[in-house]
Structures are given as structure tokens and as C-alpha cells.
């Protein structure tokens, strides 16, 4: 084992100089009991900065729309392209962030995409196309998509039951819009509401225990 004459200690490993005082070591080297682990820089920080910057750009893009008039024809096509791009970008970000839990992603997708469309509708002068068509279709199709997904990837009941429940709750909101008379055509909302009720009934009768267990686990005080 090598020795440091200044610190008067033995040094394990192939050090030419004392790791403590940098004085040259004397004697034969002995193998180090510790591995030399190469430096490793993760991309996590870069990704975090990119994500936050993206979210800021998306948020500002949505806000900037308020500056343009609803009936200004000149902005119409440009606005649609702009909102389409940032909305897609937002969905991609969420999909990347929640890639480890598809059920959770579906809930985020419905809430975010629905919200964006309602805002879009508001910006373009409120024809209620978002509440009449987009939200019910989005909710119903994501519910169907979720049912298929959890079967295909064989997700355990406990892992998706809460998110399925949340998707069902979102799917029931078109019924509220219908009751309040906010929608033009009743059929999409009615179909979406009916589908959600069916899934809710099935969930409570077939998976009632799992639902209660998961809620107790996640909401425990």
C-alpha cells in the first residue's frame, strides 16, 4: 500500500498523489476497494428546462389570443394554425410526462384538450361547437380508448380504477351542459352521458371493492 509521508497514512488504490494533501505518495500501490465510476451527466436538467420553456411559450400563446378580436377575419386562419400547433405541442408534452401511466394520461388529455377547445370556441365568438361536439366526443372516445388500453396492456385494476372513475366523471359533464341548455344539438352529449353512466354502473357493480380500496388508499388522512 502506498503511504503519504505528510499525512502519515496509508492510501489504498492507484493514486500517485495523496487525495487529501496532494503530496507524492511512496511505496507500492494496492488495488482500490472502490470502483472508479465515470462521470455521468444526465439529460434530466436539459429536459426540465425545455419542458418549462415549452409550457411558458404555450401559456403565452394562449394568452396572446386575447389581444386579437373575435370577428377579425384576417387572424382567422392564422389563429387556427397557431392554436392547433400549441395544443398539439401541449398534448405531446403531457404524453411524454405521463408516459409511465397511460390511464393518468387519458385524464390529463381529456381535461386539457377539452379546456383548450372551450377557450378556442370563446376566442372565435362562442358558437358552442366545443360543448356541443368536441367535449362529448372527446370524453366518450377517451372512455372507450381507456377501456381498450387497460385490457390490451393488462393494467391491474388498482392502477387504473381511479383514473377510469375520473374519466367517467368528466364524461358526465356534457349531461350538465345539456341540462343547462348550453349545447345546440343534444345527441352527442346524450350519447356521451349515457356511455359514462353505463361504465359507471359497471365499475360500481363489478369493481366496487377495488374502487373503495383505491379511494381509501389514496385519500387516507
Amino acid at each position: 500500500m502506498r503511504r503519504c509521508p505528510d499525512c502519515r497514512l496509508a492510501v489504498e488504490g492507484e493514486w500517485a498523489r495523496c487525495p487529501l494533501c496532494t503530496a507524492p505518495l511512496t511505496g507500492e500501490s494496492a488495488p482500490s476497494p472502490l470502483p472508479a465510476v465515470p462521470l455521468r451527466f444526465t439529460r434530466r436538467r436539459v429536459l426540465r428546462v425545455l419542458t418549462l420553456t415549452s409550457l411558458a411559450v404555450i401559456g403565452l400563446s394562449f394568452l396572446a389570443q386575447l389581444l386579437f378580436d373575435a370577428d377579425r377575419e384576417s387572424i382567422g386562419a392564422l389563429r387556427s394554425i397557431w392554436l392547433g400547433v400549441v395544443a398539439t405541442w401541449l398534448v405531446v408534452l403531457v404524453a411524454a410526462g405521463k408516459r409511465r401511466n397511460l390511464a393518468k394520461f387519458v385524464v390529463y388529455l381529456v381535461a386539457l384538450a377539452g379546456g383548450v377547445c372551450v377557450y378556442w370556441d370563446y376566442l372565435t365568438g362562442w358558437d358552442a361547437w366545443s360543448l356541443t361536439y368536441v367535449v362529448p366526443i372527446l370524453c366518450a372516445s377517451s372512455l372507450v380508448g381507456l377501456m381498450i388500453t387497460v385490457r390490451v396492456i393488462r393494467m391491474p385494476v388498482g392502477d387504473h380504477v381511479v383514473y377510469t372513475g375520473l374519466t367517467v366523471l368528466l364524461g358526465l359533464t356534457p349531461l350538465v351542459f345539456l341540462a343547462l341548455g348550453w349545447v345546440g344539438t343534444a345527441i352527442p352529449s346524450a350519447l356521451c352521458g349515457a356511455l359514462s353512466l353505463v361504465v359507471l354502473a359497471a365499475l360500481l357493480t363489478m369493481r366496487g371493492g377495488a374502487v373503495r380500496h383505491e379511494l381509501a388508499t389514496r385519500l387516507h388522512l
Partner: protein, 492 residues
């Protein structure tokens, strides 16, 4: 695989563990490592077998950490741990939100076996139980012999019989007796996996609460000559000795990729013990005083902030019997102000010891446990959503850090069961560090003091080592390569 429709058991994290989740970061991963150096190159296949056998007996270690709306919780899993060669730096992150992974890893390098644990799962003592069982199982496989003694009980340090008798009858006593009976008799009925998980995963404070084990004054108390603490946690509250207002804090250059700077000093334990005895103090406090002196020599404790403060964890199991492998400790802060009295090493050590004794009295500790439980049960604390709790606890942790110069933790003398004891030499103990700190552990007459720091500077360790070698202690240094320059010089 578990049958379809099976509901996984879960248990909430206790208050003490929650702070690790609020405080963990890339720099301070809240991971600690326990290691053992064997007398031969480790056989990974046998180690894997031993790990699987050990896991059977520690269902808690199968748990994954999940996030609820108000609290984190541990949930049982079917994940299977795999021993890996050491390719990552020590105390690399283990817990990542949204990824359901086990909260520990077992690594090997040459003759060493390392167990790394995320602190929210277990404390130093709990992890030592696991490592002991793992080493026992491994050595039995590596050196099969006909005349081996029977396997060690799960908990290597059952409370002495008289401690059990002082407890009034309650579930904790039953629980404890069932364990000893089971350990002693192979044919005893086995609990189901689920009962075992729930029992194992019960937070230590709760097992104590069920046992009125600590009527102040008559608790099974021994005056902690060397506190077999656990790895250094962030203190969760204020301490017996009110800390001074301004405390010196070590600053330095961060390591290039957030890995801790690890410097391991190993030495025979006898001369160090003799030095401590000479000053009439416990070894922990003697080493703390040496560290303070080392920091003073490197320029700390100058005119600006002459006070040095160290956080020292105390293992509560020595006062309040608990067989839970979960976190069960309290942290005390000991401090010394230079330039306000006798600054000789011995005098400083004695002052620190007085501080420590006052804080580590069973009555004071019992009060802490009760306060901890009260805090956790406070209605307001319950209904605050978890992300907000993390934020608040993170702030509390940061505020506490401002009152600390260093942290240290001494797991004390480890006694491994035969035949493991005769094949294991030095043992290692280290934790991820938000500030310079050291961890001590001794086995087979070897004392290993591992310094970890988020900074590349090694001055305080140099002075620490020189203080010991000047007293004639034979010190051996093992240093991990940390900076780019050091790594570039491998083999040169």
C-alpha cells in the same frame, strides 16, 4: 404473480419519513449505504440467492413508494431485486416519483457487498438487520459446513428479557413474543405474507405507542456510551440545547455530477477508543470534537461565526423497544463556540457529551416521540394536500440546515452472527450529504469512518486524519475518484 383481484396491502409513511421525501434532491438523495468487505471476491450468483432468501424474511423491503392525495404510502409489490456490479456512484438516487421501483439496491465490487437504501423505507439500524441477514445467508451458501450454528434470528438484537417484563401487557408485547418464538422454533405457524407485510411495515413510532414502554425514568435505559444512531437525517424539530443563532456553514466547490465526495478512513478501533477514554468521553463525541478541531484548523469558526454545530442521530430502539425496521430515531444537535472558554480537544468533547446526554435522556426523547405523533395527528397537518406538505417540510428542512455545520452518525460496533463474522472484515457506512458529514461503524476491531460531502474540498478530512495519525493511530485511506481530473488519472 398474485391472484387476479388481489388488493395490494399498503401502509402510510410516518411523519419522520415524509421529511426525506420533501428534502430529497439530486445532491442529497437521502440514500444511505451499508457495506461489508469479505475475505474473498464476491460470488454474484450466490449473493442473488441469498438476497432472495433474505427478502422472504423482510417483506417491508418489497414495498414501493406511492403518492396519495394527502400522504405518501408504501405498497407491497412483486418486484424482484437483482444484485448488480457497482457501476454507479455511491448513494445514487433510488426513488423516482411515478416509477414504481424497489427502495433499495444491492451492489458488489471485488470483495465488497453494498446495501443502499432510500431513507424513507428504513433507518441505519433497520438496514443493518437486513444486511446482517443477507451476509449470513450469503456466507452460509459460500462456505457450506456441517457444523454451522442455526440461522440467526431475524432481528439480531432482541431486547433483553427484563425489558420485556417491564412492559405492561399489550399488543406490542404479544407481537414481540410471537417474533422471538417464531425465531426460536422452526415449526411455528407462519404468518401469511400480507400479515407479515402489514406488521413489518408498521411505523416504529406506532409500535411504541401501542406499548407504554417508556414511562419516563423507568424506561430500559442505558446511558448511550456510543449512540448507535442511524444515518444522519434532517432534524425534524428543535433540540434540547437551543442552537446558537449563527452557525458556521462549510461551503465549497460542488462535485461535477452531484456525486458525493467519499473518503473512507479505516483504522483499528482500540487506539481510538483509548483516546476517547483518556478524555473520559464516548467515542462519538470524541470524534465529533476531532472534526470540530479539524474544521477550526481549516479556517472555520473564525470571527464571523465561531460556533460549530453537528447533528447527531439517536437510535430510539435502545430506549423504546421496537422491532420495526422503519425509521425510528431522533436527531440532537450538539454545538461548541470557539473563543468562549476552554477550546482544548478534550474539553470540547466533554462539553459536547454533556449536551448530548441532556438531549438523549429518555424523558426528553419520550417527549419528542409524543410531539412527533401529535404533529402527525394534528387535523390541519392531515388535510393539507401532499404537494403542499412537501413544500412546507422542504422549507422546514432548509431552515434546520442553516443551523448545522456538519452531521455525523455512528452505528457503533456491529456483531455479525457466525459464520459471517469470521469472513467479514471492515464494514462501511455512508450517507448522501447536504453538508460535510461522517458516518462511523466498527466490526472485527476495524473502525471505518466515511466522510461524505457535496463539495470536492478535502481539507477538513486531511486535518481530521492528521489529528488521528499524530496520536499514533494507524489510518488507511480509500478515496473514490470524484473530479474530472481524478477520473482522468485512473491507472496513471
Amino acid at each position: 404473480m398474485r391472484p387476479a383481484g388481489h388488493r395490494r396491502h399498503w401502509v402510510r409513511l410516518d411523519n419522520a419519513s415524509n421529511i426525506f421525501l420533501a428534502a430529497h434532491s439530486e445532491v442529497d438523495t437521502k440514500v444511505f449505504r451499508l457495506g461489508a468487505e469479505l475475505d474473498h471476491e464476491v460470488d454474484p450468483a450466490l449473493l442473488q440467492e441469498a438476497l432472495e432468501a433474505t427478502l422472504e424474511r423482510f417483506p417491508l423491503y418489497r414495498a414501493v413508494l406511492r403518492r396519495g392525495v394527502f400522504w405518501y404510502y408504501l405498497q407491497e409489490s412483486d418486484l424482484r431485486p437483482v444484485v448488480v456490479p457497482e457501476t454507479e456512484h455511491p448513494c445514487a438516487p433510488i426513488y423516482q416519483a411515478d416509477r414504481r421501483t424497489l427502495l433499495f439496491r444491492v451492489v458488489h465490487h471485488r470483495r465488497r457487498v453494498g446495501l443502499e437504501v432510500f431513507h424513507a423505507l428504513s433507518d441505519g439500524t433497520g438496514a443493518l438487520w437486513f444486511l446482517t441477514a443477507l451476509l449470513d445467508a450469503y456466507v452460509r451458501r459460500r462456505f457450506p459446513a456441517a457444523d454451522q450454528p442455526p440461522p440467526a434470528p431475524e432481528r439480531p438484537d432482541p431486547a433483553p428479557e427484563e425489558a420485556v417484563h417491564t412492559l405492561t401487557t399489550d399488543s406490542f408485547v404479544q407481537h414481540f413474543r410471537r417474533r422471538t418464538r417464531r425465531a426460536g422454533r422452526a415449526g411455528a405457524p407462519r404468518e401469511t405474507d400480507h400479515e407479515e407485510f402489514l406488521r413489518e411495515a408498521a411505523p416504529a413510532v406506532l409500535t411504541v405507542e401501542r406499548a407504554p414502554a417508556a414511562p419516563p425514568g423507568q424506561a430500559p435505559h442505558r446511558p448511550a456510551p456510543s449512540p448507535p444512531g442511524r444515518s444522519a437525517p434532517e432534524p425534524t424539530g428543535r433540540d434540547a440545547a437551543a442552537p446558537p443563532r449563527r452557525v458556521h456553514r462549510v461551503r465549497g466547490t460542488r462535485t461535477p455530477d452531484h456525486r458525493p465526495r467519499v473518503l473512507e478512513l479505516s483504522m483499528p478501533v482500540a487506539p481510538v477508543l483509548a483516546l476517547a477514554r483518556e478524555e473520559g468521553v464516548a467515542m462519538s463525541m470524541y470524534l465529533t470534537a476531532v472534526l470540530f478541531e479539524a474544521l477550526r484548523r481549516t479556517g472555520a469558526g473564525g470571527r464571523a461565526a465561531p460556533t460549530l454545530a453537528a447533528s447527531v442521530p439517536v437510535n430510539l430502539r435502545q430506549f423504546f423497544p421496537s422491532s420495526s425496521a422503519r425509521n425510528f430515531f431522533a436527531t440532537l444537535t450538539v454545538a461548541h463556540t470557539y473563543g468562549a472558554g476552554d477550546d482544548a480537544l478534550g474539553a470540547v468533547a466533554r462539553r459536547l457529551q454533556e449536551d448530548f446526554r441532556a438531549g438523549a435522556a429518555p424523558a426528553a426523547l419520550a417527549q419528542r416521540v409524543r410531539r412527533l405523533l401529535r404533529l402527525e395527528r394534528a387535523p390541519l397537518a392531515r388535510i393539507v394536500p401532499r404537494p403542499l406538505k412537501d413544500l412546507l417540510l422542504g422549507q422546514i428542512n432548509r431552515a434546520n440546515n442553516r443551523g448545522l455545520t456538519v452531521a455525523l452518525s455512528n452505528l457503533g460496533r456491529v456483531t455479525l452472527p457466525e459464520p459471517a463474522a469470521s469472513h467479514v472484515g471492515r464494514m462501511q457506512f455512508q450517507v448522501s450529504a447536504a453538508r460535510p458529514q461522517f458516518c462511523a461503524i466498527s466490526h472485527a476491531g476495524h473502525l471505518t469512518i466515511t466522510f461524505t460531502s457535496p463539495f470536492v474540498e478535502t481539507d477538513h478530512v486531511r486535518e481530521f486524519a492528521r489529528l488521528l495519525t499524530a496520536e499514533g493511530v494507524e489510518v488507511t485511506l480509500a478515496a473514490s475518484r470524484t473530479t474530472e481530473a481524478e477520473l482522468a488519472a485512473v491507472g496513471r
